[in-house]
């Protein structure tokens, strides 16, 4: 429950403060957000399966974000930033879908 409250708090904070995204962060933030979402859904699934571990969650969250940003950075340096970003989004989207599907199976049995 507390993590959900944290998420709500973060969204409200973002709406109230409406922070300006710094220019250097703009290419990385979308991918980083997707990667973080992937980690969050994975954590939810793990919690339902009873194998949630806060250490694993923190590390996977941070490493997801960092790796996603690195991939975008590398892609930009190589001139294939758009394609690589698309690839990352596709992979992360697949993972999110499969995690959500697992959560659905666990909770609804279907």
């Amino acid at each position: 429950m507390i993590p959900v409250l944290g998420l709500v708090l973060g969204v409200v904070l973002g709406l109230v403060v409406s922070p300006e995204v710094p220019l250097w962060l703009q290419p990385y933030l979308p991918i980083a957000v997707i990667a973080a979402l992937d980690a969050v859904f994975g954590a939810a699934r793990a919690a339902l399966e009873g194998i949630f571990n806060d250490r694993v969650f923190v590390i996977s969250f941070l490493s997801n974000v960092v790796v996603a940003a690195l991939i975008v950075f590398l892609g930009n340096q190589l001139g294939v930033g758009a394609q690589l970003s698309t690839g990352v989004v596709v992979v992360l989207g697949l993972r999110i879908f499969s995690n959500v599907a697992a959560i659905r199976r666990h909770l609804l049995g279907a």
Partner: protein
């Protein structure tokens, strides 16, 4: 998390697209729901919960910021074809607007030209008025002074009359009439065979009136200068009376002759 990872049989690795994390033991639906309830009901701030909450708060802020900036920026997210279409749209619109600008500027120039004509006509009319007054071809009215001169002995000299005209002009008289004659730029003072003073060849027969249009106080002051026209004529035995007036009419006209010798120099383009 209250539950510890249970011991589970070592599983063989199998490739799974999508989930990079280890597969937990597949819980039954009842188990999963119980865990969900437990998680939802858990308000005790354990360390893991707090860390997860902090990360999720960060995610929330980033999410909102990203959505906001996407709303704002837009263009950087578009594909090349969309950008090209946008550029085409913008170019077409720019062309249309430039056409409009050109048309409007043409209209503006036309209107300004008409206004210029009107202004030129107005300026020309004003110039005509002032030249007419200067040349004495139109009657004028305005404030000024009347100088009644009576000189039955004929003591007035040419110099005195020239003095009078000069004093009036010096005081800013814009139109001067002496007797029935308008004093203009070409007016001259002479003397006939009997020794009487003439203006433009016509003998002045006293008594007569000098009318000057201008600032009446200044003109009256000019007439009162010691040693001036009034002073010297009175000294010679004549009578001079100056009357300031709010409204006087100078109705004597001067027939402007076409100049026979003087021709205007054509204006040169170079200064």
């Amino acid at each position: 998390m209250a539950e510890q990872p249970r011991e589970q049989p070592r599983r063989t690795w199998r490739p799974s697209l999508g989930t990079g994390r280890p597969q937990g033991p597949q819980p039954t639906t009842a188990q999963a729901r119980r865990r969900l309830r437990a998680l939802v009901g858990q308000l005790r701030p354990a360390r893991g919960q707090l860390i997860a909450a902090a990360l999720l708060a960060l995610l929330g802020v980033a999410l909102v910021a990203q959505v906001r900036s996407t709303d704002e920026v837009g263009l950087t997210q578009l594909r090349q074809s969309e950008l090209v279409a946008l550029l085409d749209d913008a170019s077409a619109r720019v062309d249309a607007l430039q056409d409009e600008v050109r048309q409007l500027e043409d209209d503006k120039e036309q209107l300004q030209g008409q206004e210029g004509d009107e202004a030129a006509a107005r300026a020309a009319q004003e110039r005509l008025n002032s030249y007419s007054i200067l040349a004495g071809t139109v009657p004028v009215e305005g404030p000024g002074i009347s100088v009644y001169v009576n000189d039955p002995a004929g003591m007035m000299t040419q110099t005195m009359l020239l003095d009078a005209i000069q004093e009036l002009r010096d005081a800013g008289a814009e139109a001067i009439q002496i007797g029935n004659q308008r004093v203009v730029a070409s007016s001259y003072v002479g003397m006939d065979e009997d020794g009487a003073v003439t203006l433009d060849g016509t003998t002045l027969v006293p008594p007569y009136r000098i009318i000057a249009i201008g600032d009446s106080h200044t003109l009256a002051g000019a007439m009162a200068i010691p040693g001036g026209f009034s002073d010297s004529l009175r000294g010679a035995g004549g009578a001079v009376q100056v009357v300031e007036s709010e409204s006087l009419v100078v109705d004597a006209l001067h027939e402007a002759a076409e100049p026979r010798y003087a021709q205007p120099v054509p204006p040169t383009t170079e200064p």
